[in-house]
């Protein structure tokens, strides 16, 4: 037996009573190392004290109460762990209700504007059609300068000018 074996026996003594064979080996070691005698006595004394520590008191109906609580929680009574119940309670809170109403209103407003506003693709398509038309009919811009130079004329005068030009 060596120091490592002694340590192993010591650690075994922390967990359980040593077997007669282990105790005999230990006594042999201590006979050769009397300087460790006192240390071992303190170890053995503490092992004895801790082994005498009584069990904590447990109510006789402990198991019944656990099962009762389990039945209560799984019998449809609102359950803290149940996500649906948690959400339902959260929605019932007035502040949460107001917050959700505000969120829904903002979402609706944005959605409405997104729906009514022409999309970027549609705008690009309209421009493409316009430029295509202009490219095919350059005469459309023949009167552009004349029209631009006119003062803010009434519609009648404008029509008159335009009627002369063709």
């Amino acid at each position: 037996m060596n120091e490592v074996d002694y340590q192993e026996l010591r650690e075994a003594g922390w967990r359980r009573k040593l077997t007669p064979a282990e105790a005999a080996r230990l006594q042999g070691w201590l006979a050769l190392h009397p300087e460790q005698q006192m240390e071992w006595e303190a170890e053995a004394g503490l092992n004895q004290l801790l082994s005498q520590l009584p069990d904590a008191p447990v109510a006789s109906n402990f198991t019944a109460r656990v099962l009762q609580e389990l039945n209560r929680e799984t019998a449809g009574v609102p359950d803290r762990a149940e996500p649906a119940g948690w959400l339902a309670r959260w929605f019932r809170r007035p502040a949460a209700g107001l917050a959700w109403a505000a969120v829904l209103m903002v979402a609706g407003w944005i959605g409405y504007h997104q729906f009514t506003k022409p999309s970027g693709t549609a705008q690009a398509h309209d421009l493409a059609v316009l430029f295509k038309t202009v490219g095919q009919e350059p005469s459309l811009f023949e009167d552009f300068d004349a029209i631009r130079k006119l003062p803010q004329a009434d519609d009648e005068e404008l029509y008159a000018v335009l009627n002369v030009q063709p």
């Binding site: 650690e11 004394g45 801790l50 520590l53 447990v58 198991t63 762990a81």
Partner: protein
């Protein structure tokens, strides 16, 4: 860790399927070891029992997450320790005066009464009762990790590897915790160790 089949794991697999009888069997088997740890972590017997019941409810609710690769007791005591730590943290945030707390001017009063019947027992039992109170007090003074390590080690239900898993540290750190805790206990209980009071059977 041993490769022997863990009968508790079989029970737990049945619990996973919703088997209440298997659950009841586990509660019956482990209510005492769990209470032994919880009771010495929370200084109130009633609250300790409530929390111990909560530990088992948590076991049932978390059964779907249980993997057979872990020994049941490791898993059970990890849940127990986590719930104890949560309770300790909650109390530190919302401190409340305990009815069992030592009152000023009455320092000799123990932190908690373990069993009243000892007060009317014969002299030997009085000595034994006093000794047990001193051990409880000394244990209560230890840091939580050291105390839990010593209590789990004492029961001989968990290996050092399993205790290390519960405490979320290495095996060598676990042994070091036990060693340091025991050295503190030896100092606190020195009069009882040297007087031979422990030798009473």
């Amino acid at each position: 860790m041993s490769n022997a089949p863990d009968p508790d794991a079989d029970l737990m697999l049945r619990v996973k399927q919703g088997d209440r009888e298997a659950f009841e069997e586990l509660v019956e088997k482990y209510k005492q070891p769990v209470m032994n740890v919880v009771y010495r972590t929370l200084p109130d017997a009633t609250e300790a029992e409530d929390l111990a019941q909560h530990v088992f409810l948590q076991v049932y609710k978390s059964a779907h997450r249980y993997e057979v690769s872990a020994k049941f007791t490791t898993w059970l005591f990890t849940i127990a320790r986590n719930l104890c730590l949560n309770e300790i943290r909650r109390r530190s945030r919302h401190p409340a005066e305990s009815l069992d707390a030592t009152t000023p001017g009455n320092d000799e009063q123990p932190i908690r009464q373990v069993e009243d019947i000892r007060n009317v027992s014969p002299p030997e039992s009085l000595l034994q009762g006093e000794l047990e109170e001193k051990i409880e007090e000394a244990l209560a003074q230890l840091p939580e990790k050291q105390r839990t390590a010593i209590l789990l080690c004492r029961g001989d239900e968990l290996s050092y590897e399993e205790i290390a898993a519960v405490l979320q540290c290495s095996v060598s750190a676990t042994k070091s915790l036990i060693h340091r805790g025991r050295e503190t206990l030896k100092q606190s209980l020195k009069p009882y160790l040297s007087s031979g009071a422990w030798s009473k059977e």
